[in-house]
Symmetry: C2
Subunit: 326 residues, 2 copies
């Protein structure tokens, strides 16, 4: 009897797995942590405002893990209250991206992590000053030695630890994933209809895979131009090819209800409005109100379990630590 049940369960699982394999969207699974000390170190660095010139801005300032890994602002606030040129992308599930930043100018999370630290409009520090800061904080020296084997701290170690922490920031358990895995009651009929529509109209051409995005660069305004005040060039700034102008990495739709406002210019606050604009400019399709509602209902089933962990306690500076310069 027990074996029979197990067989039934296994065949159900196989059935749902083969269904899953046929779907353009795959579920996200919990992160496996291999090096707990490194993740802990990376988490501390992620929350440490001493990696900025002012001593006030940390990675978490703009990729706020209380707020879907974003700052919920059109564009981010940087050093000296400079308003950045582009919307802060969520750090959640960023490990699934083919490259980092909207224009993909960093190949890896590690490469990305060094960017904002030295960006004069963001943390406005230098890698050398970041190292001088960490080297003079005994608590950090001890942790780096434990994780990397010696007392000399390098920028590659700093960005590696941050990246390894960021790789743990995945959001499994979304209602949609439970639905994909066979739980028929995990999402509403409206959301199911939304998912079908999402597939049939072609959203999944770009928004696919585990992250429903992040796997390609696409032009913003394929069918009709996108109207924006933003002067950001997009992918062409990286490739130098005019054809890549206004091409951006497709953003993930995971946790999309938490990561407003939308688009690279952060111009749209309402998810339904964002869906309608996408329909118009990417697919040349005007959604009926009930269709928009269905797609929005589907999108809100993509909110997964947010990473939870203890707020890190940071080791104090020493007399030799460079002073913050607000």
């Amino acid at each position: 009897m027990r074996m029979k049940l197990a067989l039934v369960a296994a065949s159900t699982l196989c059935a749902s797995m083969s269904v899953m394999a046929a779907e353009p969207v795959q579920p996200i699974y919990a992160a496996t942590i291999e090096d707990r000390d490194k993740v802990e170190l990376g988490k501390m660095l992620f929350f440490d405002p001493r990696l900025s010139q002012s001593g006030f801005i940390s990675c978490n300032s703009c990729h706020n893990l209380s707020m879907g890994g974003s700052d919920n602002l059109p564009t981010s606030i940087g050093h000296d209250w400079q308003l950045g040129p582009i919307n802060s992308p969520t750090v959640l599930n960023s490990k699934f991206n083919i490259a980092q930043f909207w224009d993909g100018r960093a190949a890896t999370l590690q490469e990305q992590a060094g960017g904002p630290i030295a960006n004069p409009g963001e943390m406005a520090f230098t890698h050398q000053l970041a190292l001088s800061t960490l080297e003079t904080i005994p608590g950090y020296v001890k942790m780096f030695e434990k994780v990397y084997g010696d007392e000399v701290i390098t920028i590659d170690e700093v960005t590696d630890a941050i990246a390894v922490f960021e790789e743990t920031l995945v959001t499994p358990g979304a209602p949609f994933d439970r639905s994909l895995m066979g739980d028929e009651n995990a999402i509403s009929m409206q959301a199911k209809a939304g998912y079908e529509l999402f597939k049939t109209v072609g959203c999944t051409a770009c928004h696919n895979g585990q992250a429903l995005g992040g796997s390609s660069f696409q032009k913003m305004g394929l069918v009709k131009p996108y109207e924006t005040d933003s002067e950001v060039a997009g992918r062409s700034a990286v490739t130098g090819n005019e054809i890549d102008r206004f091409s951006f990495k497709v953003p993930t739709l995971r946790n999309i209800e938490l990561t407003y406002p939308y688009f690279h210019d952060g111009a749209v606050w309402d998810l339904g409005e964002a869906v309608n604009i996408m329909g118009e400019i990417q697919l040349g399709r005007t959604f009926k109100p009930e269709e928009t509602d269905q797609i929005v209902a589907f999108l809100t089933t993509l909110t997964g379990q947010q990473p939870t962990f203890d707020l890190p306690i940071l080791p104090p500076s020493s007399a030799k630590t460079p002073k913050p310069q607000p």
Copy 2:
């Protein structure tokens, strides 16, 4: 045998308790949490930047619980990168203060909590906009209803929840407290000598009680004037009495190694230098280098267990929520 041991333990406890009663400093005990939901709500509000005009500054920005409940800046950074007039006091153990703010202008933690939200140089919001924000966030409405019994959110509830969370932010378990409770090996001989000196020269006249401070207002510069560029008047701004000029609430010395830079103007980064200045201007005493070292050794035994808790996950805004205005 077991009873004999218990009796010995009890008599040791009584002996150390009577010693403790005679000391000008008392240990801190872990917080007892009566209303877990209210503490959780207060924690969320404490971390929520949507209580600021910009959507970027939360209570935790300047009272950073990763950094001893302070921002480790001379004076805090507020809305539009305004540099405040005064050093951000630690929120840790602030429940022991007779009043809040350096000048004691708020009688309670609850009264304090409303201040920075509406201060144009800090969070630059209004209480009305803070309420409009919270009222339009369904996740908050639900929590306020659970904690306060109805859906209408008042500013008194907001500040009450923040204050009740702040009351939990105590730091028990400091080596010095373990020493007070009878563990003779909890602190070094140097620290013990430092504590004796701390008492005999008169530091405990002001730095006493559980928080080693926070129980009185005292003039900064009792014996010699304190040299500062700060124009902050201190207690006289509250009382209107000229005699209270440059009088400030005595800051706590708990976790002092984490809450640099020191004094109301945040002008001094080195703890030994701060001790020496205090000796000169408050006691008319020049410490020998070994005396300074002893007192510093004692002060660093006052670092307790920092409050640890999950980083709160904040509920998303709705279409009706006022937009942040960076």
